[in-house]
């Protein structure tokens, strides 16, 4: 479904991703864990074309987003890029809802403006998604009137409204206190039960073990270990053990 191979990315000469390869199968939930600064967000952002890679290859289904010629990244043309990226949804740490639109418009306008759905159809879908994330009655509110947890649930519904094949999350709960974290994680857990393909960067270790089919551990720009939650917990990777040790404290 999604495959990223030999991704390299530098910021002003500093190597942030060093030959990272990752693939996600249909229906699979992959959690990415690792210390702050290990390159988790950068990897997710590169996959979603929010950052440009230096070299490597990314394909979604059968389509190539970017490939490399002579060690230099070559991207698909602008229109194809847009269409390809639409196969992925992205949920940000800081929600990034559009503050000047109501919750309902945040869910409907992308559908009408980008997918050219009718307003009626868009609203039907939006209302169904809102009740699914437990906010069926907040359609007419503005984002500033919602709690962080509610805003993040709207952001998830907004991403789902475009029917992405893969949903990506970049630390969706790290701006939230424990109570609000729980309500957001419940929504993601339900999506996992429905076999949505998901790629989740998270620091919630317990949650990762519970929902992920596979856990990927990143360390200093490389994937240092990966496997099923059980394999990861048993595995002997030194950095991973140190990371888990720090988490337990």
């Amino acid at each position: 479904m999604l495959s990223a191979s030999h991704i390299r990315k530098t910021f002003d000469g500093a190597e942030v991703l060093r030959d990272v390869s990752l693939s996600v199968k249909e229906g699979e939930v992959v959690a990415i864990i690792g210390r702050s600064g290990s390159g988790k967000s950068t990897l997710l952002r590169c996959i979603n074309h929010l950052e440009k890679i230096d070299s490597g290859e990314i394909t979604i289904g059968k389509d190539t987003l970017v490939s490399s010629v002579d060690g230099k990244a070559v991207y698909a043309p602008q229109d194809r890029l847009r269409a390809l990226c639409l196969k992925m949804g992205f949920v940000f740490q800081s929600y990034n809802l559009f503050p000047h639109w109501t919750v309902l418009d945040n869910l409907c306008i992308p559908q009408t403006a980008v997918l050219h759905r009718s307003r009626r159809e868009a609203e039907k879908k939006a209302l169904a998604l809102l009740s699914r994330v437990g906010l069926g009655d907040r359609g007419s509110a503005y984002p500033c009137q919602l709690s962080g947890g509610q805003q993040q649930r709207v952001a998830i519904a907004r991403a789902l409204a475009l029917d992405p094949e893969i949903l990506c999350f970049d630390e969706p709960t790290s701006a939230l206190d424990p109570e609000l974290t729980r309500e957001v994680l419940t929504v993601i857990r339900d999506l996992a039960k429905e076999k949505h393909t998901m790629l989740i960067v998270t620091h919630e270790m317990k949650f990762a073990r519970e929902v992920a089919d596979r856990i990927v551990f990143m360390h200093e720009g490389v994937i240092a270990a990966q496997g099923t939650p059980d394999e990861i917990m048993k595995g002997g990777n030194e950095q991973l053990l140190a990371f888990m040790g720090d988490l337990d404290q």
């Binding site: 979603n48 074309h49 929010l50 847009r82 269409a83 990226c85 639409l86 992925m88 949804g89 992205f90 940000f92 800081s94 990034n96 809802l97 559009f98 503050p99 000047h100 306008i109 992308p110 403006a113 980008v114 997918l115 503005y142 984002p143 500033c144 907004r158 991403a159 475009l162």
Partner: protein, 220 residues
């Protein structure tokens, strides 16, 4: 007291000032009609990634903000006719004021656009909005709210700046009042003109307060 205690002369003064005020209003309105949209084009040019566009636009803004409006008015009035033939005085005022205020509005718009968090662009991108959709539907509407206050400052300044048209003998309200003061030796016409400007700015202020309230339905 030559006017304020003589109803007949006062009426004559008010009639003439009102007549001049019509010209003042048309300078005010035409300047805004030209400069409010032109400022957006200038702002976009200033933010262009192509040096060939952004460099000349920066220079234009530097000249417009860095030299006196009155000097620019003279320049338009005396030099433009050499290029395109004679133009009415009032048109020279519209052009000079329009070009000058566009530069100020451009910098205000630019500040507003740059203050929109990058996350808004990123969210728009991952949702598949095109660049022009992103600008028109997401960035611009939020920018309007953010620039309302600085724009209102400029508009209030413009009300008073219209009196600079006196420099090329356009008979707007200030010149009318000044001439009546010269001929009568009384400062009352100038004083009353001042009251006109004040009232006009009270209306402008009320209008912007209304707009600000209209945009209070959300905050970010």
């Amino acid at each position: 007291m030559q006017y304020l205690n003589d109803p007949e002369r006062l009426m004559k003064l008010l009639t003439q000032l009102t007549h001049g005020f019509g010209t003042t209003l048309s300078i005010f309105a035409m300047t805004l009609i030209i400069s409010l949209p032109l400022g957006m084009i200038v702002a976009l040019g200033r933010m262009s990634r192509h040096k060939l566009i952004s460099a000349p636009v920066s220079f234009y803004i530097l000249i417009m903000r860095g030299t006196p409006l009155m000097l620019q008015l003279f320049a338009v009035y005396f030099f433009l006719p050499r290029l395109i033939g004679p133009i009415p005085r009032l048109n020279a005022v519209y052009i000079a004021f329009g070009l000058n205020y566009a530069a100020y509005f451009a910098e205000i718009y630019r500040g507003g656009i740059m203050s929109i968090p990058p996350g808004q662009y990123e969210a728009a991108q991952v949702l598949g909005f095109t660049r022009s959709q992103t600008f028109m539907r997401i960035i611009l509407p939020q920018t309007v709210k953010r620039v309302l206050l600085p724009v209102s400052n400029e508009v209030i300044t413009l009300v008073k700046d219209t009196s600079l048209a006196t420099a090329i003998a356009v008979s707007e309200m200030f010149l009318t009042a000044k001439n009546m003061t010269s001929s009568s030796g009384s400062v009352e016409p100038l004083f009353i003109a001042g009251v006109f400007y004040l009232l006009m700015n009270a209306v402008v202020t009320a209008f912007f307060n209304f707009l600000t309230n209209r945009f209070n339905y959300y905050h970010d």
